[in-house]
């Protein structure tokens, strides 16, 4: 990408001042550490800029900054940085790995922090433990069917609108930005999305009520907060999932609580 396109005409490099959360391990109280004048290219991704800083730190014999990343294509949900108080940074519908330094002014001051939630304990620096999400999925984010052979295409008719809604919800990459952004550290958008993408498909409807109950109960036991309808989750979600999925979860949980009889084998998976 040319310098002209980058919005930094005539500058092939830019400098930013970073304040990064450093924490040795889960027990360390942690603190913000300043890194002034970090040089980078406007065309670097945010994580590449951190890679450059880490190389410099290692050259000086210092501990590099630990942060999560995997695909760096915005599809895996591993990266999890809060930039200036906004999970994944200032660009709408963008994971922090897809955020480029040209999104910031030359000389910008950036505060980089991990996701903050009781249910996401910090393991080290900017890395948090998100296995609470895995346990919520284990509680009910599945369909208990014998997979068997590959079914014929269109053997089970699914209306286009329903398929679209399921796909929109299934775009959730489970990064946890919704929890990080919510003033209550609630996981409603994540759980709502996981419930929604199954409830809109015929295969997911048999267990709709059991699923809502099991997943919400697990979410509560993990120590996530409650929904106050701040809508901050929807605003930061890199996949732009709508809070409509939370309404669907609310509906399913209410109907499950009022009408569903407890089963002895609750919590069991496929037979």
């Amino acid at each position: 990408m040319s310098a002209q396109q980058s919005g930094h005409q005539g500058h092939s490099t830019m400098k930013v001042t970073l304040h990064v959360w450093r924490q040795k391990d889960a027990r360390d109280p942690g603190r913000m550490v300043g890194y002034p004048n970090v040089e980078c290219s406007p065309d670097m991704s945010f994580l590449e800029m951190l890679d450059v800083l880490n190389e410099r730190l290692m050259e000086k014999g210092e501990e590099p900054i630990a942060f999560d990343s995997d695909c760096r294509e915005g599809i895996c949900g591993a990266c999890s940085l809060t930039v200036n108080g906004i999970p994944h940074g200032p660009r709408k519908g963008t994971t922090v790995c897809q955020l480029h330094m040209r999104s910031f002014e030359d000389g910008a001051e950036l505060f980089i922090e991990p996701w903050r939630a009781k249910a996401f304990p910090v393991l080290r620096d900017l890395v948090v433990d998100r296995s609470a999400f895995d346990r919520i999925i284990e509680a009910g984010g599945f369909v208990s069917v014998r997979a068997g052979g590959c079914p014929d295409g269109n053997a089970i008719p699914v209306p286009k609108e329903e398929a679209d809604q399921a796909m929109d919800a299934a775009a959730c990459i489970g990064c946890g930005a919704c929890v990080a952004a919510c003033p209550n550290a609630a996981a409603m958008l994540f759980v709502g999305a996981k419930i929604s993408h199954l409830r809109h498909l015929p295969q997911g409807q048999a267990e709709q009520k059991r699923r809502a109950q099991a997943m919400v109960d697990q979410m509560d036991s993990e120590g996530f907060g409650n929904c106050s309808n701040y809508l901050e989750c929807e605003a930061v979600c890199p996949k732009e999932i709508s809070v409509k999925v939370i309404a669907e979860m609310n509906r399913d949980y209410l109907s499950a609580s009022l009408t569903r009889e407890e089963q002895k084998n609750d919590g069991g998976g496929a037979g």
Partner: protein, 230 residues
Amino acid sequence: MSWVCRLYRSSLGAKYVMASTGVLLLGFLIAHLLGNLQMFAGADAVNSYAESLRALGPLLWVARIGLLVIAGVHIVTALRLAKANEAARPVAYVKQASRQVKPQTKTMVLSGLVILGYVVYHLAHFTWGFVLHDYSTLVDTEGRHDVYSMVVYGFQCWWVSASYLVALALLALHLCHGITSAFQTFGLNHAKYATAIKLTGPAIATLLFLGYASIPVACWLGIVQILEGT
């Protein structure tokens, strides 16, 4: 009944309780406003309405205790949720920012508690007669408790009216968020009605504000006044 306890203890259950008690309290606000608006129909209308409420006897107490329980559950559940929300983020962000958090959403607990304080004062003023005057001795020509004069005298004091308007403004802000949120809590969210639902909270809140505020304003402007001989 274990499922009821389980439901109440859950995060979503607590929200259903907030929304349903909120809707019931909104029902009271509407009924109370309709009663109050009879001030514009004259002293006789208000005083006979007040008399008919008193004539309910034990039923009035059922309504009063019911309201008290509903308000109590609304408040206790709100405080429980607020405490849980605070516990869910033990370490705050060094740099705080938000994309679309609205002030009325952020201050729901605060506005709620101020409204609670105001309601206690409002009862002490008009119902119990602890503030300014004991209005219970006011009697109209037909020997009924003169609610009409009580309201006019009450709003003649500038700070009574001013605090009433401030409390109403806070109540309107509280309702702006609360009413729209109740739809979401009960799962009523559909693209077709999204705009309507979004506007319902502010619309009802504005109507209630204007309705309630019209009474002290009418008292100032002399539209509602004490007539000679009453």
